[in-house]
Amino acid sequence: MYPIERVEPLNAEVTRMVVRAPEIARKIRPGQFIMLRIDERGERIPLTMNECDPEAGTVTIVFQAVGATTMRLAQLKAGDALLDFAGPLGNPTELEGARRACVIGGGLGTAIAYPQAKWLHEHGCEVDVITGFRTKDLILLEDEINACSTRQIIMTDDGSNGNKGLVTQALQQRIDEGADYDLVLAVGPVIMMKFVAATTKPYGIKTLVSMNPLMIDGTGMCGGCRVKVGDEYLHACVDGPDFDGHLVDYDDAMRRGVMYRSFEGAAREAAEGRDCNGGTDGERKGA
């Protein structure tokens, strides 16, 4: 069992959870993920690491309660424990060598983009962080990101924070201002990553995106997490989860992403009917 040490809501939809997993905390790097299962009936769901503390032996995850499993996860409290917590899975993001990076987080993706920004900042890279949210009440990790970025630009869809627009608009503006990025990293909804990649492509800026497909085992076995990259399908769990943003087929990823959507309602109903003892597919790591 993996004890939960701390649970705190970051906003009305998003929860931060600190889990005791000393062996994983020792090894996990930005960009890598864990797979957890709440209990015997639970699904295995992948969640990309938000923070780790090797000394304290903890791994922090951030998730949005959108499907039955994450809704159930959000109800757990400090002192509860997760049955399974496996990792580190996937490959760490290749951050070495970047000098001027732009890290982009969309919604929940901000929680995953954060450790990347922090790592880059700690390794002497100049880091701009651009994040985007629906509205200002959903803004995540503003203080944490301030502490590890050269510049933080927060966009909202409704302009409620006084900065209406998309992350791609902010990115374009920074490029036009001569930011001269050598690395752009995007974590968020597939559609956002698609347009980030389209924005950087004319400039040939190296762009990495963190893909979040359906996943079952997370070790390369089931082939569920196939992502079309260039002409071939790769497995996000063992070949990713980061891929060259200019090669990913985003439309294909969006299409594959909805494959299990029709099951979500039944799962949520069953979970609620079981007195908070249920859950489902549908919610996945990242945004």
């Binding site: 639970g42 496996a86 899975l89 079952i216 089931c222 079309k228 299409r255 799962a267 859950g279």
Partner: protein, 495 residues
Amino acid sequence: MATSYEVNRQKEKTPVSELDPADRAKTFDEVALGYTEEEAVAEARRCIQCPNTPCVGGCPVGVPIPRFVEQVAEGNFARAYAIVKSANSLPAICGRVCPQETQCEGVCTRGRNGEPVAIGRLERFTSDWAFAHPEEAAAAMDGLREECAAGDELACSIWRGAEGAVSQDLAGKRVAVIGSGPASLTCAGELVKRGCDITVFEALHKVGGVLTYGIPEFRLPKDLVQREVSKLGDKGVSFEVNALVGKLYDIDELMEDRGFDAVFVGTGAGLPSYLGIEGEGLNGVSVASELLTRVNLMKAYQFPEYETPVYAGKKCVVVGGGNVAMDAARTARRLGADVTVVYRRGREEMPARAEEVHHAEQEGIKFLLLTNPVRILGDESGWVSGVECVRMELGEPDASGRRRPAPIEGSEFVIDIDMLVVAAGSKTNPLIAKTTPGLEVTPRSLIVADERTGATSKPGVFAGGDAVIGAATVILAMGAGKRAAAGIGEYLTQE
């Protein structure tokens, strides 16, 4: 031939009760119900106790088959179990999933004129009987040991098997076993008999490897697998689940930081192969291991009681001709699909066990042989809608000795479907190879290991099973696990 019983001259195997095929299509309950005591005795008496015992040679772990069959024929079921168990650490599993028709039963003397003795069913019977009568079974093991101690030669020859493949005392030695499938469980079982301290590392949350995530419940009940695992636990084997070696630890760390004296790698062949044709990314298309993992490991057939869902269409094509293809086809059938297996060669060339093909047919699964998919078709929303196939004809034998299929030009046709499962084999996960300096692997990431000892190019590291030979059978993996245990025993005592 000298038998202590009257030989049953019946040419056919004693039939075994099975769930009705019509009911089977709706349930994941085990299909074969196993012999009753009377049926087992009747079948065992079909063995003529021929002196050359080809069956023993046909068994990859050398079960003294005529000896245990004789005991079944006499109604001494506990003793029969003790004899089987001496040579085979997982008889309840092997009795169910071994390809007996190409092993022990394939060379059975009775099979020259009629059907061979149903050795697999008898093996299953003895282990199921022992599970229902644990005290008698344990007493029979003790009996065998005592007879050997008293100098009985036959008892000793059998007891040597029970004592295990490892002859050295390994108290105080620590071995890490990576993966928890049949090769690993066998290796761990053999080593723990000599007092070796064993930790098995499993990447998933449940132990058993392919026995747990791959082979379906209706062929191999998962309770039975967990029962065998817990027996190893009782003997002192430790299990660490959620531990993916190569990520959480690498082999050098296990040896240097965690103090293991040797490592056995039994990580299997878990990576799926694809057809490499257009449309494999369509929704409704999966590889067999996704379907099987959802259903077997995650119990998706009990969704939403269990939270993992599984997609099942109304009309499904399964591509492939092996046991995994049969498992996938029969699973899809149970999930409600009308299933057709498409295989590019003929019936003769199908690698699947005859019994599995037979069971699949009984359950209403159709076979389109000498047929190869060339393109998967999708609808405008990206879901699979059909598969274009081409008829094949067999030409000259290829390197594997099977006749090479070639497409017949102009014979293309389309099958309308809403589900397609690819069962085109599996490859070795390269993770261990990539993270273990000094470990020699083939270009296909298979670990290079000595056939006799399992020793790899890296001192102290042994390997066996599918990770070494590519996707094969449970029993071959067990044989390799057993030989590697002996190799590890030698290695640990020569230092």
